[in-house]
Each structure stands twice: as structure tokens, then as C-alpha cells.
Symmetry: C2
Subunit: 499 residues, 2 copies
Amino acid sequence: MKKARKTVEELRLRATELTNLNNIIALLHWDQEVMMPPGATKDRASQFATLSTIIHKRITDPVLGDLLQLAAEHCGHLAGKDKALVRILSREHARNIRLPEKFVADFARLTSESLPAWVAARKQADFKVFLPYLEKIASMSRQKTDYLGYEDHPYDALLDLYEEGLTSISLTEIFTSLQPDLTWLLQEKRVASAADDPVFPFPPIAEKDQIAFSEKMLAEIGYDFTRGRQDASPHPFTTSIAHNDRRVTNRYSTDSLEFIFCALHEGGHALYEQGVDEDYAGTPLDEGVSLGIHESQSRLWENIIGRSRLFWIHYYPVLQQYVPDPFQDIKIDQFVRHINRIQPGFIRVEADEVSYNLHIIVRFELEKELMAGNIRVDELPSLWNEKYRNYLGLIVDSDAKGVLQDIHWAHGSFGYFPTYTIGNLAAAQIWQRYCLYDPEYRQTLQQGQLVKIRQWLTDNIYCHGAIYPPAELLQRVCGEPLNSGYFVDYLRNKPEFSP
Amino acid sequence: MKKARKTVEELRLRATELTNLNNIIALLHWDQEVMMPPGATKDRASQFATLSTIIHKRITDPVLGDLLQLAAEHCGHLAGKDKALVRILSREHARNIRLPEKFVADFARLTSESLPAWVAARKQADFKVFLPYLEKIASMSRQKTDYLGYEDHPYDALLDLYEEGLTSISLTEIFTSLQPDLTWLLQEKRVASAADDPVFPFPPIAEKDQIAFSEKMLAEIGYDFTRGRQDASPHPFTTSIAHNDRRVTNRYSTDSLEFIFCALHEGGHALYEQGVDEDYAGTPLDEGVSLGIHESQSRLWENIIGRSRLFWIHYYPVLQQYVPDPFQDIKIDQFVRHINRIQPGFIRVEADEVSYNLHIIVRFELEKELMAGNIRVDELPSLWNEKYRNYLGLIVDSDAKGVLQDIHWAHGSFGYFPTYTIGNLAAAQIWQRYCLYDPEYRQTLQQGQLVKIRQWLTDNIYCHGAIYPPAELLQRVCGEPLNSGYFVDYLRNKPEFSP
């Protein structure tokens, strides 16, 4: 027992060191996106290389492997927190020792060279420019699945990187029933939501008003500015630089309402991280457990809460006060109708709540077959376009608006996309659970009592950090596994879609 | 020879890693001062601890010691750059292995505990509150001199930390002749510069105007904003986050001209670092060689150039354009007289060019005797007050305005202060050299041809980074060692002091 305690103490020390180093990497990224002068790009890459090498050496250290094995043998006697620590570090250790150092370096070089090719291909709307790179990335990604290992399907090895335990089989089952439902709902709701109001587009919105209102929104949902900050960046994101330092970014364009929903979306991510139990600080438990559960929180605040009429009954006067121009002249009904318009489009990141997941299902089906070796990379554009015709009823006439639209494949991130939909589905399922807890939820929203919602989410999800695997967390919160029925019901019954 | 080449290659790799890690530490500091939310202070301390431990392990690595010894044996065959690399790494290695790890940790803990005591003592103007801490700091600093080693005087071990090769003997010689000259000049010039113009104090200056003009000043002296940025911080500083990322900060108070001279001061530091030869990037040569030489560049731009009437003949209309309120109503002669007013005061950081170094001489004399064990810590206030009466003609009636005014001792930084005066002396000496090179220097200034001055400084000082020790660099630039005569002549003849 004494040996077990010493082992755990040593593991905790190593976990703190790794957590600190990973947080410093996060700061380097945040700084690069938000602050760094443009001339320093190469220098920063060298700094990343130095830190990444140190982290890789530490996580693959055979001594760490021995400590983890020793701890696993005493797992029955460990506290829950230490058990989770062993589970997470073991996953990280195993994943890292399975990937040969040369492979990791080659893959990093390949994706870094692929990025400009993807940018050029998208600019020229010419898939051929990106094709040779994507072929290598897909081929190396298949190799990666072999290194990482899997039971049923090679794609599972990649899915598990982003969402522990997620499999092709379970996703196929969910998506196979979800796709026709969504395609059907899209037809129905796009007609119901009808054409947009002529007050849109509106005159330019002053940046200072956008900043003031987005800060107000963050404060209202409970984001703690003494433990975070909001800045501008070309691509909005949330990052954790420390337990008490969870930063968000936003994007301010004069002709878009993005600043509102970006604040709620990134704010949702940040609330999750700010809500993790202080006891987990300095360990790998001190973060959201998976990309899917994380996305459920951003989407819950952005869409389910943030696009509801009830929410705006309380907050529309605040918006009109902070951003009088143009909202003084727009009625709440016009506004709510506008932010809930259903209209299938080519671009995922601009998609409405109904069509969004169809974009993801297309990606999933293509990625799965690609990783199984059932389709070729050069077939992707035609397969893509066919699926968009079938699922969204759209004729894609340019690869720039089609298969080339997203950066993820150029980054080599196969397996990432499905977590967006996991997030949307889990958000509806969790919200349904919240409504059981708070039958007066309509009043709660209408009176802006967001603290009540945040507290329930904190107690049931945020505080746990990464201590439970994502599926176990969902089971605990909802009493059942992931179920897409709640999301379909939510879309079907959302009153804002049928005004 | 092949072995020597391999040794140097290995040293270069290790140097790059160390440089990257030190630059990351600089980013953590910059972020803490400029961006970090207040709640994250403890987390950041833990991140510093992790990185500092890694750096300490690497710099004290016995394998590095062996490599350095091997390289030193082949020093005759090394390129100048590699020779300097070996010299600097050897200094760092030796210094770090001489200080026991426990001592370093204890000293860090002591100074971190002393900081709040110093803050409280200064607030209450009560030296006794700080006394027990300062006694421990002084005692451990003396212990540090024993660990580090010295030839003549214990204080030399500390001076050398900030200014390679600087000794008590040489400083005593310089300061002994400088002090009476300064005390005499102070009497003479304070009468000549007379009372201040009634236009001062002026109405509040808008912060946005301060930012715009300070950025304009930085751009004019040649600061490259693609390789740096200016932000606000409570205590202005310059830091190097990478070869192409040298950041400055400024402080904007509505009732002070500090924003102008801060931009020129920090800009001078930053020009030095931005001017280092690209070939030295990723090595410890990629920085200014010492605190004294660094300060010579900040002071040259801030005082010798930035407080000259000739400079303002060109730039005063620019100031009036950027900051019309209040400068539209102030004449250039009033402005130049105001920024060159000679008036002894209690506070070092507010001191004019003549009295400034008297503050430093007081510190030097006290630190030297303290490290030699010739005076006790509890005698410091009375000794301080006595020297202020003799050198500056001031009766110090509160330790808050006296011995407690600066943070350096609470940090444990004995030996730091003299570099400020080294900087002032070297600035005048280097400027005199520049005037020999450019006999039309008056016209150069008056026409705002700052590029000419910056180019000469770059070619003669900046580009060399840390390749020459500070005394050798000065000898190369000026053809003689540090000579305080130029500074005394500069003060004596500066026309702005006798308007």
C-alpha cells in the first residue's frame, strides 16, 4: 500500500508537469492567433517544436509506463480522481508510444506542407491542386489507424482520438436514422420559416458596440472575467491556459450577427472549463472530457438557449440598449425569425440547426469509407456532390463551396467532424433532462435566470472535468446513452421554426 | 577536427533549445504583465516552476559541461560565433552549477515572501516591517557571493551577473570622481533651468492620442511593428519573445509626458534587440550583451536624442498634430525647457539627467559595504538619508521616499543598480563617437534623419548581439574603455540646461 501511494504521488507530479507544459503550448497558440507580430511565425514554430519534443519524451517515458502499470494493479484501492488520472495518462502514454517518432514528424511535415496547397486549391476551386497532398494524408491516416489499433473498423482508431470510445458502428446506426429525418425536416421547416424579413441586411454595426454586448452576454451566462478574457481573432476559439485562465475569442464583422452567437458558443465552451472542480487543477482531469461533450455545451448556449424566443424576451431590450443601431429599428419578432431561418446552404459553418448535421453526415460517410479503403481520394468530389444533392437538395457547382470548404483534412484530422453532431445531439438530450429538473424552464429563460441553468450544468457536467469517459458522463446525466431522438424532437417542435 | 565539429553541432542544438525555453519564459512574463486575467497568478507561478526546473536541468547537465570543455579545447579553430556561444554557455553553466538547488529554491521562496512585506513597509513608510526580510536577503546574497566566487570583493560576484566583468574597484574609481562633479553640476544647473513654466501642469491628455503618438515615435526611430508590438502595462518594459518578436510596453497617465519618453526608452531597448544579426537567431547571442549596454541604448534615444531641442524642432509639429490638446497651446521652447528641468528629488525614476546617477551612487555605496559586511541592514535608512543630504542636498523625511522606494532589493537583485549609470555614461561616450562619424549631427537631428543614427548604431552595436563582452564592445565602438568624462561634458555643455 505504501508503494501504491508513492506511485500515485509520483504520477501526480508528472501529471502536473505535463499539464503545465500543455497549458504553455495553449498560451503559445493563443498568442500566435491573437497577439503575435506576423514576422515571428517561424520562431514560434521552433518554440512549438522544442516544447512538443519535451512533452513527447515525458509522455512516452518508459518509467511513466511502469508507474502506470503499477498503479493500475492497485486500481481498486485508488480514489476516483487518481483512478481517472491513471486512465487518462495510460491512454495518452499508449497512444504516443504506438506512433513511431519518425511517423509523427513525417505527418507533421506533410500537413504543414499541405496547408498552403489546400488554401490554393480552394482559392482556385480546383480539387486537383490539393489531390496529391490529400492522397498522402489519407494514406498516412490509414497507416495511423494500424499503429493505433482498432477492433472493428480502422476509422474507430481515429474517432477515439477525439471522443473516447466512439465507434463507426454506433455512429452508423445513429446517422442512418438521423439523415432521412433531417432531410425530411429540412423540406418542411424551410417552407415554414419562409423568406427573410426585408430589414435584413441591416446597416453596419460598430465594433465597439459588438465588443460591449458580447462581453455583456458572456457576463450574463456567468463567464468569469477574473479567470479569462475575450479578444478578437480571425477564427474564434476557446482555450485553457490554466485552471483559472480560460480565454475566448470573437470575430467582429460589421454586417453579421456572428458576434452574438460566437460569444454564446465560445462562452459555452469556457463555462464548461471554468466550472471544473478546483480539486482537478494541475491534472489532465482539468478540462472538458471530449470534443463531443464540449460541443454540446457550446451548442446548448448558442442554439437551444441563445436562439430561443424566450431568451430574447429578456435580452432583446439589452441588445437594443447596447447596440441601438440597428436594433432600435428591428422588432424582436423580426430578429427571432431571422436568427432561426432554415435554408440549406453549401457551407457547414453557416448552416442552420436543421441542415448542419447533414453536412457532418456527408463527411462521416466519406471519411469512414476512405479509411476502410472502399473509396479513392480522387472520387471525393463526385461522391460529395452526389450526397449533397440527395441529403440537402443542393447542386454543388464548385469544389470551393464543396469538398474543399473545410481545413480539417489538410490538418490530417480525420475523425474530428462527427464530434460536432455528437455535440448537437447531446445538447438536446441534456436540455430535455434540464427541463425535467426545472419544469418552469420557460419562465427561467424568459426572466433571464441563467444562473439556475448554469448551476445545474456545473453540478451535473462541468464540475466533473474529464473524470468520467464521455459515454459514462452522458449516462449519469441523462440516465441513458446518446439518443438522437431528443434532437429530432427538438427540431420538430421548436416553435421558432414555424412562426 | 571532426569531433570538434560534432561537439559544436551538439552545442548549437542545445543552445537553440535553451533559447526557445528562455523565450517562452519571456512570453509567460509578458502575458502575465499585459494580458493574463488576475485569477491565474498561482497557476502561472506553477508554470514558471515547471519550465525553470527544465531549464535548470538542461543548463547544469554534466554532458553539457563535458561538451563545453571539449569545445573550449578547440577554441582556436572555432568561428567567432561559436567561440562566443561556448563563452556564454560556459558562464551560464558554471554559474548554475555553483549555486546549490536548495539554495536557489530557498532564495526564490524568500524573495517571493519578501515582496508583500516590502509593499506593506513602503505603504506604511516603516522600514522595520521590511527589515527582517531584507536582513535575510542580504545574508543569503552574501552567501551567494561565496558560492559564485570572486577575486577582490564579494560584490563583484553579483555585479558580474548583470554586467560581465564589472568590478567594485572600477566602479569605485568611476563613481568617486563622478559624484562631486554631479553634485556640483546639480547646484549649477538647477539654478540655470529655473522654475517651471506656468503652462504646466496641462489639461488631461487623451489615451488614444498618447497611443497614436507613441506608436508614431516608435515607427520614426525605426521600430519594426511586423516584429514587435506595443501594449500597456503598469511598469513599462521591453522583452524578447523571439528573434522576430521584441515587444515593448508603455504607460498612459493623463497628466504626464511619460508616454513620450517611455516610447523612446523602451524603443531604444527594442531597436538594439531588433538589430541583432539574423545569423544569431536561436542562440544566446541573440540579445543585447549586458544591462549596462542595453541601458545605454534606451538612454541615448530617450535623453540624448529625445530631450534635445534639435530633435523637437522636427518632431514638435508632429506632436502638436497627434496630440493637439494640450500641445497646440504650448510653444516648443516651453516644452523643451519643461522636459529638461533640473530639480533634485527623492525618487530615482522621476529624476532628471543630472541628479539621476546620484541616486545610483548612493545605492552602489550601500550595496558594496553591505556585501562586504561593513554595515548592517538596520543602519541603511540613516546611511541613506545622510548620503541624500550630502549628494543631493535633500532631507529625507520618510523611508517610503527613501530607502524603501525601489523593488530591486525585495527581488534580491543586489548589483543591478550600477548598470543604470553604466548605461548613462556609455550613452554619452557612444554619442560622442557618433558625432565624430557624423559631424553634421545637428542637421541630422533637426531634419529627423533618425535612420542615419539607427544605421550607425546597428552596424556598430546592435548587429553584434552578445558576441563581444560589454567592455570589449565599448572598446571596439569608442576606441577606449568606459570613460565618465563624456557624460560630465555632455551635462556641462547641454544647451537645453541653460536656456
